[in-house]
């Protein structure tokens, strides 16, 4: 056996609930990963290309469909870019509605991630609990937008729906549920001996590497980078709030930049989001939520506009950037989408190096690419690659059990 090492273990393409499934190839000696390579772009859909033949209002609805989890992220970033080009001022109330829905998105995204992380660790009761309580946020999102996913609430110039007084009761009920649950979540995720022993010290990302690779969001904050657009670069209603970036020291621990720190940051960001929503609900200014209700008027304003702009938003996974160029035509002449995971995926080869095979799933998941299911595993042996489907692997496993029983 020794002569054949190192082995190459390709994993995937994996289905993250992001832009694309990912294929990861690991070179292993024994149980230790010595190098890792990854191939995203398994489902290139050409969304940016599609956008170049659509008008901004159509693109807003297209952006909602870039990601199933970040339904607001992309539409908000895109709308902010177009508003800057066309010099459209969003009404203050619109800014607040945008902030509230963006924070609900963060709560549901972080809970979804927490569930996935628990599942990757083999802690399925916690997975069910996290996804069960995530439903509260999904219900609140449904109350506000009418949809559980693909919210379609952002429009150029504001939002398509207002948050009315009679919705407040339901939203506050949801927030109170989370407040009561927070201590429990904190205890289950952060005090559990098994989670601690498996996550502390694994998937290390140093502060320097996080900076050099321009990592974003909780992934970088877990490494001690204090960057958070909501704090540093005030937009929407975030400039009115008194918030601080969440880094692992909030839990009283040192900054290690490991998987455990990423859990700490996300769990505490849920608490921060609850506070932000409450503050926004209390201080919502009166007035319209959109600059202009008639879509035709929005379109004609966009059609006259020319110039370039960048729209940014701190998504649950970190900074999202949309760069848009318009030149007085119906469709933009350029549209670049920089999703948050774009800045985080390329740290995989670094954080996987030296990891144990069994820790791969949770390390891969720790940057939050939503690792939902491993499609197939291929084993490379002396140049010939055998690809096994999940079913085949399961069958092999059952057969082995039968053999052992005889």
């Amino acid at each position: 056996m020794a002569g054949k090492a190192p082995y190459i273990v390709p994993v995937g393409p994996i289905h993250p609930a992001l832009k694309e499934p990912v294929h990861i190839e690991l070179t292993v000696v024994g149980e230790e990963v010595i190098s890792a390579d990854f191939t995203p772009g398994q489902t290139h859909r050409g969304i940016e290309w599609m956008g170049l033949s659509r008008n901004p209002v159509q693109i807003v609805h297209l952006t909602d469909r870039i990601c199933g989890i970040c339904g607001v992220t992309h539409s908000l970033s895109f709308a902010r870019a177009v508003e800057q080009i066309a010099d459209i001022t969003v009404p203050e109330r619109g800014d607040y509605v945008r902030t509230i829905i963006a924070e609900f998105e963060r709560i549901q995204s972080h809970l979804l991630w927490a569930g996935v992380a628990a599942h990757e660790l083999g802690f399925d009761t916690l997975f069910y609990l996290a996804w069960r309580v995530r439903e509260e946020a999904m219900d609140a999102i449904e109350v506000i937008t009418g949809n559980r996913v693909n919210y379609d609430i952002i429009q150029i110039g504001g939002t398509r729906r207002d948050i009315t007084e009679d919705q407040h009761a339901k939203i506050r009920k949801c927030l109170n549920t989370y407040k009561d649950l927070f201590a429990k979540l904190k205890k289950l995720f952060l005090e559990d001996a098994v989670i601690k022993s498996r996550c502390v010290g694994t998937g290390l990302l140093s502060f320097e590497t996080a900076m050099a690779y321009s990592a974003v969001g909780p992934t970088s904050r877990a490494s001690g980078v204090t960057a958070d657009l909501r704090v540093d670069y005030p937009y929407c209603a975030y400039g009115d709030l008194d918030i601080k970036p969440v880094i692992p020291t909030i839990y009283g621990s040192d900054v290690n930049g490991d998987t455990y720190d990423r859990i700490v940051v996300r769990i505490f960001e849920i608490a921060q989001s609850i506070e932000i929503i409450e503050t926004c609900l209390d201080n919502m200014p009166q007035g319209p939520v959109i600059w202009e209700e008639k879509v035709a008027k929005i379109l004609s304003a966009c059609k006259k506009a020319s110039g370039e702009a960048v729209g940014r938003h701190e998504a649950p996974r970190g900074e999202a950037v949309h760069y848009v160029v318009m030149d007085g035509a119906e469709a933009p002449i350029a549209w670049k989408v920089k999703a948050s995971s774009y800045s985080n995926l390329h740290v995989w080869p670094i954080i996987l190096k030296g990891a144990q095979l069994a820790d791969i799933p949770v390390i891969v998941a720790s940057v939050d690419p939503c690792l939902s299911c491993t499609d197939r595993v291929a084993v490379t042996d002396n140049g010939s690659t055998k690809i096994f489907t999940k079913e085949q692997l399961a069958k092999m496993s059952y057969e082995k059990s039968r053999r052992m029983m005889q």
């Binding site: 191939t39 800057q84 590497t209 050099a212 321009s214 980078v225 540093d232 702009a309 800045s343």
Partner: protein
């Protein structure tokens, strides 16, 4: 701790260092919310030769965050691509972050840019994207083992975001409308004229 410069001072510093290479600069301020706190974006157009030096100068001010390198084709008949290096400075400092977007025209006939991975390791990923989407040649960036953004069997010398002869040919675009209406369905409510 480094001194924190205002956006105008950042522009001045870059102008002093780069001189004639800066063709144009602008600071755009946006204010949202009730308190109308401002955030600034600095837009700088430079000569293409100066990009590596420009990034170096920016890094002297403070270690920047590179969101991505973006680019677009200015048109089928236009001889140039346009490339933007989207940075932000002072990330991590409350209410001070500003974006610095460095742009330049890149002739399609000679689409070479120098790599900045010697300054920022992590730029390799986004430089690779420019190779695959726009056919920009990144000097000094090692050839990747495989494609990162497009399917592995994507044809050579076709670049999805180009608008000229290297664009996606019509044959690669699936014409859903051409499939026609399924035959085993009830007739459409309105007759075709």
């Amino acid at each position: 701790m480094d001194e924190i410069y205002t956006p105008a001072e950042v522009v001045e510093k870059l102008k002093a260092a780069l001189g004639d290479s800066i063709l144009d600069s602008a600071i755009r301020v946006r204010a949202e919310g009730v308190k109308k706190r401002e955030n600034s974006n600095i837009w700088i157009t430079i000569k293409r030769e100066a990009i590596h030096q420009a990034v170096e100068e920016l890094m002297k001010i403070r270690y920047p965050h590179l969101s991505c390198i973006s680019g677009y084709d200015k048109g089928a008949k236009d001889p140039n691509l346009r490339v933007q290096y989207i940075f932000s400075l002072y990330g991590g400092i409350e209410k001070t972050e500003c974006m610095v977007i460095i742009s330049f025209d890149l002739p399609k006939a000679d689409p070479h840019i120098p790599t900045i991975t010697d300054l920022m390791e992590g730029a390799a990923f986004t430089e690779q994207e420019k190779r695959e989407y726009l056919g920009i040649i990144v000097d000094g960036l090692p050839e990747a083992k495989h494609k990162f953004f497009l399917p592995q069997d994507f044809p050579k010398d076709v670049y999805p975001l180009r608008k000229d002869e290297k664009r996606i040919p019509d044959s690669m675009i699936k014409d859903l409308w051409a499939c026609g209406r399924p035959e085993n369905r009830p007739p459409a409510p309105l007759e075709d004229e």
